[in-house]
């Protein structure tokens, strides 16, 4: 995972300026901000609104509509566990209970050491080899609780 920078309004303004020429620039900007800072800081809302000639409400509405955008920093690694039907057919519900129990978190939660944030997703396209997960950008098929630990070790190295 790319190391994240602390929030900086100046840096954010620069990132926004790189994207304003795009048609429908809001989502590319939000993705770029989140990639840089790990989340979309509240301070970005007026900057985006000014740059794109939108109201703050429109920008706020956009950020809160999409599951991907975080309004607070996450753990160092993001684990997305697929909760959709194909993974359910392979016992994902019980597996998720085990994983959440081991990590000591609920959905959307971050472990107390700040290492891992767990998010639910609905389908990663690994449906013939479920249960599936995405650990940062690394897909994991035929997921087990131990397999998740190995994947976390792999992305950390």
């Amino acid at each position: 995972m790319v190391p994240q920078e602390p929030w900086s309004a100046t840096r954010a303004a620069g990132i926004i300026a790189e994207h304003t020429h795009l048609e429908g620039a809001t989502l590319p900007i939000l993705h770029a901000l989140q990639e840089t800072f790990g989340y979309v800081d509240e301070g970005a809302v007026p900057l985006i609104a000014d740059a794109l000639n939108l109201s703050r409400a429109e920008v706020h509405g956009c950020i809160t509509f999409y599951h991907d955008f975080r309004r607070h920093p996450a753990g160092r690694h993001q684990v997305k566990l697929c909760r959709a039907e194909a993974c359910q057919a392979m016992g994902s519900d019980a597996l998720h209970a085990e994983i959440l129990g081991r990590l000591g978190v609920d959905w959307h939660g971050t472990t107390s050491d700040g290492r891992v944030t767990v998010e639910p997703v609905y389908c990663l396209g690994l449906c013939a080899n479920g249960p599936g997960a995405l650990v940062d950008d690394l897909p994991v098929a035929r997921l087990t609780a131990d397999g998740l630990e190995s994947a976390l070790t792999e992305v950390a190295s």
Binding site: L27, L52, F65, A84, A89, Y122, L124, G125, C127
Partner: protein, 519 residues
């Protein structure tokens, strides 16, 4: 002389350790002083065999799989580089029954070529469809698509030729071609496999569409859950631009087509075309009321052709080989091939491209080999989270838009999810409502409120509270959602719910004996 080995970089293969396998091969070959070139391909789609490694030999490619990093040393010792004997040796992939039985028109190159090499694509017949299209006028291209019988593969099954014709005839300074790559249905991965394994096929299909409709700009709206596809598409687009297949002068035709890939942000509803367009414009992904249709007023209010990945990628074949060659496959009004995705609790899951008309049972039993768990199949969900659950007696239904509809089901995006006899259908019905509640855009009441009331009422059924009355409330609620919702999200959520209640009534009458779905 260097030996060429092929290791997939498809997300499933990566998820099963393909990168570590590739590293182990490189290291093992180096230790042996063996010169190898490792080409990272997409997947052939026999997903239970991933990572499936192939080696080029004088007798063609020889496959081995599933290969773990721990197998590599033994494989190299057994003469992997020459196609040597080993328990994991599968022989020529084209001759494996699972593969040989298929009708690979759209997926002909997936798993074969280097996905980001224009040269490799050309050498395997790529861009012949575009060459053929450039010899026709716009009407001629649209006529080919119409006569092929191609219908929108995203789920709705709308005739592609009619849509293309509408955009072609629309008058505007700026038109757009948009690819719906927001493949959110559980049990589907054909779009992902194509974008990771043969992205130029999509680029070529969109370019043909742009030339036919007069669009000069295009977007691929890709879901963010597919980071590998995103990277591959960006690289492929850049390479196509460099090679003159995209940009100001497509293949020296004087026609421009600029293509860009955009990421969604985790919203299932953005697979609905109007919601997708709102999102692409940078707004909340709220469904638009139709009319106006996107073909006339789409992205930024301009005429826009929106098709699914599988629709666009069928087009190069049609233009190269002619409409009839495609329409010769299939049955009734469902012509051509369908990319069937076999998933869930299944022994041999994967991508099966086959002419419309094959039955669910043939796919699940002949291709799939039954469940992964070895237990009997109890329910099969076809067409994603908005598709019906079918019991055993409906498995002889052919995959055909009309035949599926006649049995109150749908083809959708061609995903088939198999469940064994441990499935609790009341829990599945509850999940359908829950998913709708999580993913509803919130614009129309039947969907926004109905989904939540559905979860609450299903909880009562599961708890055994006044079961009969609550099931009749659910049936009534489903009628309202079906008739009153603005789009398919609310309109089709009743399909999994009611099919579960209709075909598996025993699971809804065991009040209080089952646990409520884990939260």
């Amino acid at each position: 002389m260097s030996v060429t080995l092929y290791v997939p970089r498809d997300a499933v293969a990566l998820g099963l350790g393909a990168n570590r396998v590739a590293k182990a091969i490189a290291a093992g070959a180096e230790r042996r002083g063996l010169a190898v070139e490792i080409v990272r391909t997409g997947s052939r789609g026999m997903l239970w065999l991933e990572p499936m490694v192939e080696v080029a030999t004088p007798d063609g490619r020889i496959a081995y799989g599933p290969v773990t990093p721990g197998d590599v040393e033994a494989l190299l010792d057994a003469g992997l580089a020459e196609g040597g004997a080993h328990p994991l040796r599968l022989g020529r992939p084209e001759e494996m029954p699972y593969f040989a039985r298929q009708h690979r028109l759209t997926f002909q190159r997936c798993g074969v070529v280097d996905p980001v090499s224009v040269l490799d694509y050309r050498e395997h017949g790529g861009y012949r469809g575009l060459e053929a299209a450039l010899k026709l006028d716009a009407e001629g291209i649209v006529a080919q698509v119409r006569e092929s019988g191609l219908r929108g593969r995203g789920g709705a099954g709308f005739p592609a030729g009619i849509k293309w014709n509408t955009v072609m005839l629309a008058k505007s300074e700026q038109k757009y071609v948009v690819c719906n790559a927001d493949e959110g249905d559980s049990g589907t991965f054909a779009d992902r496999m194509m974008m990771e394994g043969d992205p130029f096929n999509l680029i070529e299909g969109m370019t043909i569409a742009a030339i036919a409709t007069g669009a000069t700009r295009g977007y691929i709206y890709l879901r963010s859950e597919y980071p590998q596809a995103f990277a591959t598409l960006k690289e492929a687009i850049a390479n196509a631009e460099k090679a003159g297949f995209l940009g100001a002068d497509v293949m020296g035709s004087g026609k421009a087509f600029h293509l860009e890939v955009r990421l969604g942000a985790g919203a299932y509803i953005c697979g609905e075309e109007t919601s997708l367009l709102e999102s692409l414009e940078g707004k909340r992904g709220i469904v638009r009321a139709k009319p106006p249709i996107p073909a006339l007023k789409g992205f930024l209010g301009q005429p826009t052709l929106v098709n699914n990945v599988m629709t666009f990628t069928a087009v190069p074949y049609i233009l190269e080989h002619g409409a009839k060659s495609y329409a010769d496959y299939g049955m009734g009004r469902s012509l051509g091939t369908l990319a069937i995705q076999l998933a869930g609790n299944i022994k041999h899951g994967g991508l099966i491209e086959y002419a419309f008309g094959i039955t669910l049972r043939e796919i699940i039993e002949d291709f799939g080999g039954g469940t992964q768990s070895g237990r009997p199949v109890r329910a099969v969900q076809v067409g994603g989270p908005l598709g019906a659950y079918f019991p055993d007696h409906l498995l002889d239904t052919p995959l055909d838009y009309e035949a599926m509809a006649a049995n109150k089901g749908l083809v959708g995006h061609g995903g088939i999810v198999v469940f064994d006899d441990t499935v609790d259908m009341a829990k599945q019905a509850r999940f359908a409502f829950e998913f709708c509640a999580v993913e509803s855009c919130g614009k129309c009441t039947p969907c926004r409120i109905g989904a939540t009331r559905g979860v609450e009422t299903m909880d009562k059924v599961i708890a055994g509270t006044d079961t009969k009355r609550n099931l009749s409330i659910i049936a009534d609620l489903c009628d309202v959602m079906t008739d009153g919702s603005l789009c398919a999200m609310g309109g089709l959520t009743p399909m999994p719910v009611m099919s579960a209640i209709t075909h598996f009534p025993e699971d809804f009458e065991r009040g209080g004996q089952m646990s409520v779905a884990a939260e």
